[in-house]
Symmetry: C2
Subunit: 772 residues, 2 copies
């Protein structure tokens, strides 16, 4: 019976300043390219200009003759020294996908890596790379996932017999019965377009293999240093303990730096081969070509609906364009979330992953959940339109009720907690929904295209386990190491807040270290809104072990039984005799006394915890967008945006707001502007920021127009109760905005548009509507 | 009831090759001076040419005008920015010793630091340092510790009123009674001379303070990175978590790199002040002047002896020369060990630490124990001579018997285990002692000066606790981190042997990391023969926790109860069904499965253990030296040397032999040749390798003449049973050799000589004996 810590909560819940911002804002960050090792060689990759071709030969002689070139290697050259990357170890037999960092005999997308040139400086490497001549035999290409499903489509992996990497179906309840009973069937065909993560820092890796020690250190712009370590060790046949991966400052990742990139493994292999440090940094053009793209999903929905707008059943067909080498199961996340916040127990969802001659696709902020939310929220508005109901009412009638949690969805996922109606009500209250609709009526009467869009989303977050070590040093200073790998999320700050409160020490007495496999316990990394719910919970558990041991030590120092020690505000005192007390620093010093800890306790004051939650968290929210469309230009003006999110308790409100706003900038980008486009031959038409535009600062709605708010529904699945918030904006944003625009355009009879809602596309739709 | 690991011991006990030797032998080691950081500044220290003086003023103008000089700081300059080093936090009031890295107003030895010059390169710094002009007011100096005790001696710390830093007495049993009962009193006055550790790599530190992060990294040639971290943080007022200390390869330390050197703290302070990396590397001359010296102890003994040579009582007066700033309690170790392997319960020992105007003294290989062994073994031979007994017999009659352990000595130390008679018997058997004495008689008859010297020593080793983390990675590779800081002892190898056997994995699947505060649990470091007994035991305990968890995971994978799992040779199988089995790598993978560890166990497969033994270990041994003295030159030829040591079980016999031989090279150096000498004014006369000669390779007896052997008496105080062996050679060596030489010279009537036994000293003694 140990008394609970009576500490005052001084930091948790406060918007304390983010650690390290000063460093980044003054240009003193350390990104991979800032790691300067003497004698570093520079690698440039020769990439395919063909979407699909056989390699008949590679002539490196002219390139090799360039002074300063150290080595040129082709796929065949490195095949001897390394294993391919197992991009999908769990694939069914016959669908196994092993990717060599350089193509062996066939290229499958424009940008596929064919050879690498290593030189003393990057300019020489680039020039020499242009002199590498590849003899290609062009092959027919397929770009569109639906086309790739056709029997006569060109095959990327002829040995498979088709382009289908996976084809899964979930069928729950009585879908056919639901459609038989339905008053209406509402159908939609949606394209969730391919986009690019548009991080500021391109992918980069620097590897230093030390032949003297046999040890490899890799600095990489990555979200998952431990996973990358395992991948590099496996590829090079090294012991995992001989590889160290460090993610220094990472200039944006958004899910797209979450895997084992072939270029990173290649950079390590080059250093291993050449015995010198090697750096590879992609150009922006390369980044567009060869960094995993996100989304690219075709969604075909049929909903069985009552006259009241209640969804009796749902039939979903998802076709995911995987690109040339991806094994991403992003679309299966869409499938699992295809019930969303709605009580739809008769549900069938088929999901197919299809190979095409395009850049591989993978995770991008939300990774499948935004696609699910987009699909369902478009559906809800379509039902409302079909039945002339208010979109808010349709949603309310379908929500999983707040008292139904934990709730098992039709797809088998267990929702931890939620109050969707509560979030929507809060949003409608804050936005003054009724007045908004009045304003809209007035606007319409005046011929203005004003629209209001709702999106109520939920997503499942926090996969896997993660780890933390909390080590109190003899002075009482605390070092926290975590298996997650923060790269902007701010856990260096929030974890310190947690620990400082739990141990009742000053915030600056705590430091948080991450993103270096040599100093952290094994971890999984940062993605999927897992950092705080999983990593933070591990920190909390470890901290509580430390606190309990500190109390045991204090009991010995105070010469009383452990039950008689109370802890408050960093001081341990005897129950009923508060002047008999020792402070935390004294306890720390005693833990490390040269002659042993008090009472024969094991010396030391540290603990390591691995936390595996019993299930996923389900962050949710209700977003409202208010837009006006200029019928002349097709330009959309976002007049107001309200995001009511529920991520459980807020550890640092300012950081939460930063996540929401940042996500929103990207969500609005997808809704309004961004798209990776190919021609039919597989040539990308969006290979630079000239062609592909994420929202620029002036396009992001002024903060005055964006309001963030929160409901707080703690998760029962972790001790912090937190749910994650990083994906709120990319999940809620696109459907809210698109629904608002379609709502604005409704008087013109326009019922469907696919993203991005560029002025051109809007203008064209308006012109077409006018001529109908 | 968990079945014990049935693993075959494959590595422990084998002389597997030392990890990292290839790297060092090919010149690929990384010492502090190999750490090359861009923009590094170089520091040179201006040192006092006076043994004792007041600083009246310092003129830096000429030095500051040298192009390339960045900063010049004096003691007054840095006093503002840092706290002094608490060299003896436990000192009695009035004897507190705080040392500033640069002297404030008084210098106390030749080499005392007065100012520091920082420049773009070390040559400029050196040149400019010569231009710093210090106005000294010379003060009378005292060099000899006995002189320093006199009432009229110059005082180093006038406020103390004397030069005595400490004065302790242990008085046990009835000493006066013993002397009253004694048949004889044997007296000795011995000088254990001051020596220098003579490591290959001089002391060096490089500090990088990063103003952007507020973090300090210090690379230092040290044995105690964690202690140094704490010291630097305290001196600079930084959080301990913001300081990282890395000991890269260390080119010899031998106890003399075990403290918080002011130059290291100063280097950190300079980087903090200047915001740039700063390096300081001592020259060899500086090293002689300013690195702690070892030994320097005057021993005045009186033994109350029976006619049979049994020591009834012992009265010891120890005077330790601490030099100018030392707080070393080395001599108290001599006091505590002044019973040695002998049952002497009537014992009085007084020990005084005395300040003098010389370089501070501190730990050197053995740190007080060699002094105790030397004193007792000289005594045993003196008793034998006095009573015309065989030296072996005198020892046998006084040994603590093998059945008396654990044995509490008169000084309060608890001897863990021992069998001194066993070691001596083994030594005499191996050396064929009786034949040796016959040979000696024949030699003497032929006029040759042949001598046989014995030394039976024991010492107390393994102070404090230490730590280890054993982390199995998902691939099954194992990373061990340890709080000790190996620098030649070979624990990177021996710990891997322990872990590989315990987990039944291949030796190269295990790597051991140390000497970096960022990657290791808090530790104490490597000194006092503590590395393996304390650090290795922590590794063993952590490994066993890992093994037990691996077994629990295996039980879940095999779907049986834990009691039904047996482990052998890296495979876990079902008891009675050996074909139902999983290997270690499968268990490791399962521990880190993304979806959680089997059976809902906490994910991960690692453990951290801190080990505090219940008491010290007492390594011991019996050494025999056979010499012949050339009466014409006074030169000593070491004909044979036998070292029978007992350090408990041998984990890696080759490494143990390396420790014995290496220690012997230093022990013989002290016996024969080495001495730091001052003139009466405090000017050192041995400031370079020209004046001070450690044994050079040709002087070290050929390996053919040196035999090492072992008895094995495990310690009950740690789970490995090991005792430590690093100090065997420096402890057994000097008395064995000196006793042998005195035995050789006995026919000439020479009964006493102090070390070092240089040819000159021997020759002089022979000449004096001839003229007597």
């Amino acid at each position: 019976m140990i008394a609970e810590n009576q500490a005052t909560r001084r930091y948790v819940g406060q918007s304390v300043r983010r650690v390290g911002d000063g460093r980044l804002l003054t240009g003193a960050g350390t990104f991979v390219d800032d790691v300067r090792l003497p004698g570093t060689l520079h690698a440039t990759i020769v990439r395919s200009p063909h979407a699909h071709a056989r390699i008949r030969g590679i002539d490196i002689d002219a390139a090799a003759a360039v002074p300063g070139v150290v080595a040129i290697l082709t796929g065949q050259d490195i095949a001897d020294m390394m294993q391919p990357i197992e991009t999908r170890p769990d694939a069914p037999p016959g669908r196994v996908l092993r990717r060599y960092p350089l193509a062996l005999d066939r290229v499958r997308f424009v940008g596929d890596a064919v050879a690498v040139v290593v030189a003393h400086d990057p300019y020489t490497a680039r020039d020499a790379a242009d002199l590498v001549t590849v003899d290609y035999e062009s092959l027919p290409a397929v770009v569109d996932a639906e086309q790739a499903l056709k029997p006569d489509a060109p095959l990327l992996y002829p040995e498979w017999g088709s382009n289908v990497a996976y084809d899964w179906t979930i069928d729950h309840g009585d879908v056919e019965g639901a459609f038989a009973r339905a008053a209406r069937v509402v159908s939609l065909r949606l394209v969730n377009q391919r986009i690019y993560a548009a991080f500021v820092e391109p992918r980069a890796a620097q590897a230093r293999f030390d032949p003297a020690t046999g040890e490899m250190t890799v600095w990489a712009s990555t979200q998952v240093p431990h996973t990358l370590r395992g991948g590099i060790a496996a590829a090079l046949g090294m012991h995992e303990h001989a590889v160290r991966v460090i993610a220094p400052d990472v200039g944006g990742a958004f899910g797209s730096k979450g895997g084992i990139y072939p270029e990173y493994v290649l950079t390590a292999a080059l250093s291993y081969r050449l015995g010198r440090p090697v750096r590879w940094t992609e150009t922006r053009r390369e980044s567009f070509l060869a960094t995993n793209h996100g989304r690219d999903q075709i969604q075909i929905l049929r909903a069985a609906v009552t006259d009241d707008g209640i969804v009796l059943g749902l039939d979903v067909d998802l076709i995911s364009n995987l690109g040339a080498y991806s094994a991403a199961t992003v679309a299966t996340r869409t499938a699992l979330m295809s019930g969303g916040p709605y009580r739809i127990q008769n549900l069938r969802v088929r999901v197919r992953g299809v190979m095409t001659n395009t850049t591989p696709t993978g995770a991008y902020r939300g990774a499948g959940r935004p696609e699910a939310a987009y699909m369902l929220e478009r559906l809800m508005d379509a039902i409302a339109r079909e039945l002339a109901l208010d979109p808010a009412d349709v949603r309310r009638r379908n929500f999983i009720p707040a008292d139904a949690f934990p709730y098992t969805g039709a797809t088998g996922v267990v929702y931890d907690s939620g109050n969707y109606a509560g979030a929507l009500d809060e949003a409608l209250r804050r936005i003054d929904y009724d007045r908004l609709r009045e304003e809209q009526r007035a606007a319409r009467a005046a011929g203005r295209l004003m629209g209001v869009g709702l999106a109520v989303y939920c997503e499942f977050a926090g996969p896997g386990w993660d780890s933390a070590t909390v080590r109190v040093l003899p002075s009482g200073a605390v070092v926290v190491t975590t298996g997650i790998s923060p790269h902007g999320q701010g856990e260096e700050t929030t974890f310190a807040q947690l620990v400082a409160d739990e141990l009742s020490v000053a915030l600056d007495a705590v430091t948080v270290r991450a993103s270096d496999t040599a100093i952290t316990p094994q971890g999984i990394g940062t993605f999927g809104s897992r950092g705080t719910s999983i990593g933070g919970s591990a920190v909390l558990l470890a901290t509580r072990q430390v606190r309990d041991k500190a109390r045991r030590i204090a009991a010995h120092l105070l010469e009383v039984a452990e039950e008689d020690v109370t802890a408050a505000d960093g001081v341990f005192s005897v129950r009923g005799a508060p002047d008999r007390a020792v402070d935390f620093a004294t306890v720390a010093r005693a833990a490390y006394a040269f002659t042993g800890a008090p009472g024969g306790l094991e010396p030391g004051l540290e603990a390591t915890a691995y936390f595996m939650p019993p299930g996923r968290t389900f962050p949710f929210g209700a977003h409202v967008a208010v837009v006006e469309v200029d019928p002349e230009s097709g330009r959309i003006q976002l007049q107001r945006y309200l995001a009511v999110d529920d991520c459980g308790p807020l550890i640092n409100p300012q950081l939460v707001e930063g996540q929401v706003i940042g996500g929103l900038a990207q969500g609005l980008g997808q809704a309004l502007q961004e798209a990776i486009v190919y021609d039919d031959a597989g040539q990308p038409l969006t290979g630079s920021f000239l062609d592909y535009g994420p929202l620029r600062a002036p396009q992001i709605p002024p903060l005055a127009a964006v309001e963030t708010a929160h409901t707080v529904t703690p998760s029962p699945f972790n001790p912090l109760g937190v749910k994650g918030v990083g994906e709120a904006g990319t999940t809620g944003g696109p459907p809210a905005v698109v629904n608002a625009v379609l709502d604005a355009l409704a008087p013109l009879g326009i019922t469907h548009l696919d993203m991005p809602l560029t002025p051109q596309r809007i203008w064209q739709a308006i012109q077409e509507a006018k001529t109908r």
